[in-house]
């Protein structure tokens, strides 16, 4: 099986030769090719070269489209803070209030700012890897999208103290979420990973998610014709897992390193794939042997169902992570396959 077949079969619950293994290595491509991060995320050719270098170096079961949310905040007028050692951040949101955001036109994925660069990188990755290695696109969920436009503090203030205006803003921005998701799929992404911050226990209580944001996921997911994974966005998500089965096109959920993996399986049922649970921040701090053991422990906990993909939790793996530690993740999957009789 190639990586594409392996990942798609895992997501669909079909037999595989071994479980897939992911690592979020967008910025890492710049480390391997020697370009600065601003060039990496602003130039489709540079980004694709980075992904090719990552794929050549490690052979993980995915390539990623640019994981650069500042392209979205910029498209709504925001300013970006570039860094030498991490993916860019929002220096200043485009507008300061939900009322102003309601007056903003929605960006055109093919025209506005750096969004076309992301799509071009996606097309190029698809041309190179189509049906060989899955092309995975990451995008912010519809519930957290307004935070990229007005800033997290203003968004929380609106959600918590001005419910009607929050609803209007979600209604205003949801079509962009849908059009961006469909543009990524049309450009060649095989699967969407949707990071929905409002689903995280650290951000919002279950009741708030269930009443205000789950219906939004239900409505928007139905308008996106492609496979989807819901991502925990750094915080715990187990408290909401039982609410997620049945979302249109949802094939898996990425859980955090603080979520109990066995409990996650019980909560989400048998049909959806669980992804992740390997602590991002630990990866650069421990030895390759420790990464191997951590990986193997997770595979032994969650791999039995077949619906599991080993992966780091949260966003980009820190650039200081040694290559041996990343290779240890691959070694653990191979060892687990041998241990369980799933041969490579």
């Amino acid at each position: 099986m190639n990586s594409y077949q392996r990942v798609m079969a895992t997501l669909m619950g079909q037999p595989v030769d071994r479980l897939p293994v992911f690592a979020v290595l967008g910025a890492y491509g710049a480390k391997l090719t020697g370009v600065d991060l601003r060039t990496l995320y602003s130039n489709a050719a540079a980004y694709v070269a980075g992904q090719q270098a990552v794929q050549s170096e490690f052979g993980f079961d995915l390539v990623m489209t640019p994981f650069v949310y500042t392209a979205i905040s910029e498209a709504f007028g925001g300013e970006t803070a570039w860094s030498d050692n991490q993916a860019p951040n929002i220096r200043r949101p485009g507008v300061r209030s939900a009322a102003e955001a309601l007056l903003l036109p929605l960006p055109d994925p093919e025209q506005t700012g750096l969004l076309p660069v992301v799509l071009e990188a996606t097309r190029r990755l698809a041309n190179i890897y189509k049906e060989q290695v899955p092309v995975i696109a990451v995008l912010p969920g519809p519930g957290i999208m307004p935070a990229l436009i007005i800033g997290m503090e203003q968004w929380m203030e609106t959600v918590l103290f001005d419910e009607e205006r929050a609803r209007k803003l979600l209604d205003h921005t949801a079509p962009f979420f849908v059009s961006w998701a469909n543009a990524l799929l049309a450009a060649g992404a095989d699967c969407l990973v949707i990071t929905e911050g409002m689903a995280s226990a650290e951000i919002a209580p279950r009741a708030l998610f269930a009443e205000r944001f789950l219906p939004l996921l239900t409505a928007t997911f139905a308008q996106i014709n492609g496979p989807k994974v819901l991502h925990h966005t750094g915080g715990r998500i187990n408290h909401n897992l039982d609410l997620l089965p049945g979302l249109a096109g949802l094939l898996g959920v990425a859980v955090s390193s603080k979520d109990d993996l066995a409990e996650a399986r019980r909560l989400i049922g048998a049909d959806l794939t669980l992804i992740g649970n390997l602590d991002n921040l630990t990866l650069p701090m421990v030895s390759a042997d420790e990464v191997y053991e951590m990986s193997l422990a997770r595979l032994r906990t969650a791999g039995n169902s077949g619906h599991y993909i080993l992966c780091n939790s949260a966003a980009d793996i820190p650039l200081t992570t040694p290559t041996e530690n990343l290779q240890a993740m691959l070694s653990a999957v191979a060892a687990y396959s041998a241990e369980t009789g799933r041969g490579i």
């Binding site: 220096r91 929380m156 918590l160 951000i203 708030l208 921040l281």
Partner: protein
Amino acid sequence: MNRQVWSGQLLTFMINADRVGAAALVDKALAEGIEPRQVIADILDPAIVQLGRLWEEETMSLAQNFVASKIAEDTLLRCIPENSVSPQTKGAVVIGNIEDDFHSLGRKTVGLFLAAAGWDVHDLGNDVPAEDFLEKALEVGACVIGASAMMQTTALNIRKLRELIDSRGLAQQIKLAVGGAVFNWRPDLVTEVGGDGTARNAVGVDELCMRLQAQVCGEVTP
């Protein structure tokens, strides 16, 4: 109704994100003759302490904490007359997000809780260079600087501030508090960046600052 009950009710409003209900409760307490400073000390403060315990148990979300900070701010505004200056503050503290860090929500919540607890808070905002932290601390006579970072990469920039404090021979006069999501996930990072202490949440920062202030003053602390 005793003040413990008042405080318990305020906590319930915080947990339920009911800002209006909390405001009504504070107004009622004041109307019944409870002194404003006692509202802060006996009703608001215990509720905040209890909130911190709930955060430690990981049963509180950022949304609930955000509402709680707003309720604390509302209570202060109701209890402290406009334009009044408290004759006795706990002291000055300088806070900000370290250079390259733009995640302001946690820092702002910390500022609100510190102000509620009686500190003279100087908030420098996002993306603050080490030199600016120290300059402001010296200007206002702060014995605690609070540097916030959400990401590991930006947390490492706090080392510059540590080095600057040490190189100026101010380590005994100015203590460095560090905080932000990454320190909860990786507590060892506090030592790595040279922090003198941390708190897991905004509610705990008052106690942390008092402990660090006591160290500066030469008091014995546990």
